[in-house]
Subunit: 475 residues, 2 copies
């Protein structure tokens, strides 16, 4: 845990700090009553995320209940050019939430109404604070589900804001592919809808995709209309070991090239399996492993798994261990979902320095292999796992935050990995976003002229730089 002492800003931060005036705080307290807090513990919680950064607390937290309330708050803060930082479930990992210039955090977690289930249209509309598990619970007997699964029970607004993806994007797509429209509060406190509920549209600039992934820096997402997918008749999960991670990766790529619609294809290295075994009391073999999921009709699942079994054999894969009943599949996937927390327990007191490279499929095995060699040289423990079908993998570099050398080594490893991914025509961020941590790499990935376009967009939509300042784009 972090002490309150860490909240004391250093002088550099203090110089940039844009605190709300006593009058603004009084206005907010008057409007929101006990839903406006300046209690130290509340501030600390809202300045903390799952990144390796030390917390940076805002000056106030407001728990909003509607887009209108968010709009009121933004207008009030705009008058003083005070920052407004949107907060969902606090599960982001790149420093997105840190109040680097102070300001007011608007917590959307109480905006948790499922507004409408449009089952005939295969869509649902939810307030931004609804979590993915909450939406799926609301859909439990409908025959449909919401597909995007980043692991954490993130809020759907937050998932939209970071363009999240996760374990089953290989089949069903990322948040980008699963959002039909957004309600957004602009930097002027206007409430806009970005799109109709039609399944496709060419009616003007794609604001839905502009706000999706903008991390609260261009507008604050208050409502999301998402696609739903029909529940498949049958789902089967399988675990299979390989001699090397490259074999595991190649197995998945070949399956995709043959058109097998894998529902999930997660790669885990031996160290991740060891962490999972210790944390979840499982007895998985500590070897490079694929967790696979097949979904469809009974016949399709059989056919798909037959094809993949053949490919796995060619890649020297071991036997498939199967789980078809829901409880067995849950028993299998729950440890995978807890991999992050399991990894943290490998090294007591550590924080994870989590990488997020994503490369074209043909470069994935090589990029991972080089990265493993680099990790080995440096000697920090780092479980590696990834969403193979997307070309995306994470190294959880475990560092003791009190040992500066470890933090430096992890940062250097991360930086080498980013430049390696870019050399392979890949990206510094597959799904975690930019936040604070990746700002410095955007120019290396995209070029200065592209970053300049992003900067212009930010200036056009948020001229006073009040929306989550200091994130995504270097101004």
């Amino acid at each position: 845990m972090h002490g309150l002492a860490e909240l004391i800003p250093d002088t550099a931060v203090a110089a940039r700090r844009r605190k709300p005036s006593p009058a603004l705080l009084a206005l907010l307290k008057g409007a929101f009553a006990d839903r406006c807090s300046t209690a130290a513990a509340v501030l600390l919680q809202h300045g903390t995320d799952e990144s390796h950064y030390a917390p940076q607390a805002p000056d106030a937290v407001v728990f909003a209940h509607s887009a209108e309330e968010v709009a009121f708050l933004v207008k009030a803060c705009l008058a003083e050019a005070v920052p407004v930082i949107a907060f969902g479930a606090g599960s982001s990992v790149e420093g997105h939430l840190l109040a680097v210039e102070g300001g007011v955090c608007v917590d959307l977690s109480q905006m948790n109404a499922v507004v409408a289930l449009h089952l005939d249209d295969l869509s649902a509309t939810v307030q931004a604070g609804v979590t993915r598990n909450q939406l799926n619970a609301a859909l439990s007997h409908s025959g449909f589900f919401f597909s995007v699964d980043p692991g954490a029970d993130a809020s759907i607004g937050g998932m939209a804001a970071t363009a999240a993806s996760g374990t089953n994007s290989v089949r069903y797509g990322t948040m980008r592919d699963n959002i039909l429209g957004l309600t957004v509060v602009t930097a002027e406190g206007e409430i806009i809808r970005t799109s109709s509920r039609a399944r496709k549209s060419s009616a003007g600039y794609n604001l839905t995709q502009l706000y999706c992934g903008s991390e609260g820096t261009l507008g604050i997402i208050t409502e999301v209309t998402v696609r739903l997918h029909p529940q498949p008749e049958k789902v089967a999960a399988a675990v299979v070991n390989f001699p090397t991670l490259a074999n595991a990766v190649n197995c998945v790529i070949q399956a995709l090239q043959l058109g097998v619609p894998l529902a999930r294809a997660e790669m885990l290295d031996a160290l991740t399996i060891r962490a999972i075994n210790a944390h979840s009391h499982t007895k998985l073999r500590e070897a490079p492993t694929l967790f696979l999921e097949f979904a469809g009709s009974v016949g399709q699942v059989e056919e798909q798994s037959e094809v993949v079994r053949g490919i796995a054999t060619e890649q020297d894969g071991g036997d498939f261990q199967w789980a078809t009943l829901l409880e067995d599949r849950t028993r299998l996937w729950t440890p995978r979902h807890h991999a992050y927390f399991a990894a943290l327990q490998l090294k007591p007191g550590c924080r994870s320095f989590t990488t997020d490279a994503c490369v074209p499929l043909s470069a994935l095995a090589e990029c991972i292999t080089e990265t493993l060699a680099d990790l080995e040289r440096v000697g920090l423990p780092a479980p590696v796992f990834g969403h193979v079908g997307d070309g995306n993998f994470h190294c959880l570099i475990l560092v003791d935050p009190n040992i500066p050398q470890e933090v430096q080594d992890a940062e250097a490893l991360s930086e080498r990995l980013i430049h390696r991914a870019i050399r392979y025509a890949g990206t510094c961020s597959g799904e975690h976003g930019v936040g604070l941590h990746k700002i410095g790499y955007l120019a290396a990935e995209h070029g200065d002229a592209t970053v300049e376009v992003m900067r212009r967009l930010k200036k056009a939509l948020d001229p006073k730089n009040i929306l989550n300042p200091g994130k995504v784009v270097p101004l």
Copy 2:
């Protein structure tokens, strides 16, 4: 055909006209030699599209060969604030190409190199002028294909610029879902790449999707990296009649709700079938009809068609007529692809006033039924067909351009349909874009505040309004 007389601008247009100076024309002629043309026939061709508008010619046409040449051209025109209009295959239908303020048309059709086939990554990079058929020819023995099929053999750059879709988006997605990245020339003549070649990314604002669908008003797309899909083992096409269009629509929607991955699902009304029979010498029954396509393994295709046959029977559908061999499928689908030209021949000398409404699936049958009644009242011939799985349908309202009443009636029908679609939470444009024709409807669909955001984006990225002025956003 249009006479050259129509090229003479009326005074309103003339007042807005921003002609290149003699010095600029001399510069372009010097740089591009015979690839810079001011011949009347060339100007006319480049001011003509497939819309119901009379042509409006640019002042010069330049045939570019590279992004660098486009950048040079843009910089030259920027110096005089002269408009630059990008031209691909000329197949757009909403007036996108008309030089309403004059200027220089940059024809990209000679930028037709397939730059790279990254088969292991399931992607390909092409210059903007490559057409979809050309790319698929380059892929013919690869086991992969490019999926987006808007009917016309459009250029891939143009398809990206209008966010095109078409017959198989129900399975494989629209252009938005199939673009990994773009090379774009900005209004300042900078050449930027919007994205890496990774299959997903959260590294900054989504410029790929901002330029996709921006119709040349924010930047000029010079290169596109698209997704490829594995060729399915088997493809089967089927034709089935229904008593009403509503039955046909409901058949498709129920199949989607059951998770059947239809490869195509095209609805055609009896009049469209009549037009096709006359044009392509087919003998299809003149009744509401579905053209369906199933794709996958042999077993999957059998299973899918079995399910859909059951649903069709419940909707009083007739027998399925099947085509599984490639030549038979081509014989079936070619007339569908020619439906637009077949429809034009129903009324000699006519032009088509083509609507493009798209609504949530649950509203589709009702929206079509009300529209058919409206068409019947007005009495203009109007074949109706659509991409049912997307909720998108087109009425080809056939008007004699020399009879003002017919043009007015068609415009009024179109306007009522747009407001009907918006009432059903749909969009004025499913896939054809805004161009000139839909500008006036954006506020009705999105609200003024949303349109204001679009306007700010335009002003931020093209402050001198040189990129395809007068399109998409009302300034």
